[in-house]
């Protein structure tokens, strides 16, 4: 199992602005998932993008995947104060059996 590395570690923006978080990983994957964590509690699944997909949308979220660069990005458009949370990417290896998580990106959206 491998760990995604999120960048930046912390991000502070004003409400209404867009937030972009990046994720890099090391080996071949089956899919990559993004999760959000509020206040150090349970993680909530946001979106899953498969290795044969390049872009996926869900509401104000846009995820891209570049398997040649082994990277993914999460874009949150028109951010809100409620988007303040930590965001984690979790790449799933082809032969994997668990998700591993990096340190995440701590996003703060100021009202």
């Amino acid at each position: 199992s491998q760990q995604g590395e999120e960048d930046p570690q912390a991000l502070s923006i004003q409400e209404g602005e867009n937030a972009t978080m990046n994720c890099s990983y090391k080996t071949s994957i089956n899919n990559l998932q993004w999760y959000r964590q509020n206040s150090g509690r349970g993680l909530v699944h946001l979106i899953l993008i498969r290795s044969n997909e390049r872009e996926k949308h869900s509401g104000r979220l846009r995820v891209t995947l570049d398997t040649s660069k082994k990277s993914s990005s999460l874009l949150i458009t028109a951010s809100r104060a409620a988007d303040t949370a930590s965001y984690f990417c979790a790449p799933w290896e082809n032969a994997g059996n668990m998700l591993t998580f990096g340190g995440g990106t701590r996003l703060m959206v100021k009202p």
């Binding site: 089956n30 899919n31 999760y35 509690r41 349970g42 994997g96 059996n97 591993t100 340190g103």
Partner: protein, 114 residues
């Protein structure tokens, strides 16, 4: 149930005591995982169960930690002779399987060892 539940939500214990943390996964989910997260840190894998297979215990930090899953459903994580460094949020997650599917996390148990 509607989601993964964990109990207790908070636990304060004295150093040296044993604690039991409980996880109720989503009904029908065959895979169950335990993680812990220290303050401001990422998630550290502890153990996972998949169906009737032997659990993967490779992430357990010491022999003071053990976990079981009864009847393929509820799981209990036990920490014996707790130490202050065991203080963390313990998270449980379940999934329909291990084939890269979506995971559903419980709200966690915040353990404080004094």
């Amino acid at each position: 149930g509607a989601g993964v539940s964990q109990s207790p939500s908070n636990k304060v214990t004295e150093k040296g005591k044993d604690v039991e943390l409980r996880c109720d996964p989503i009904s029908g989910h065959t895979a169950l995982y335990w993680y812990r997260q220290s303050l401001g840190q990422g998630l550290e894998f502890l153990i996972y169960f998949q169906g009737n297979s032997a659990p993967d215990k490779s992430g357990l930090p010491s022999d003071r930690f053990s976990a079981e899953r009864t009847g393929g459903s509820v799981s209990t994580l036990t920490i014996q002779r707790t130490q202050q460094e065991d203080s963390a949020v313990y998270l449980c997650a379940s999934s329909l399987g291990t084939a890269g599917l979506t995971w559903y996390f419980g709200p966690g148990t915040r353990l404080t060892v004094t």
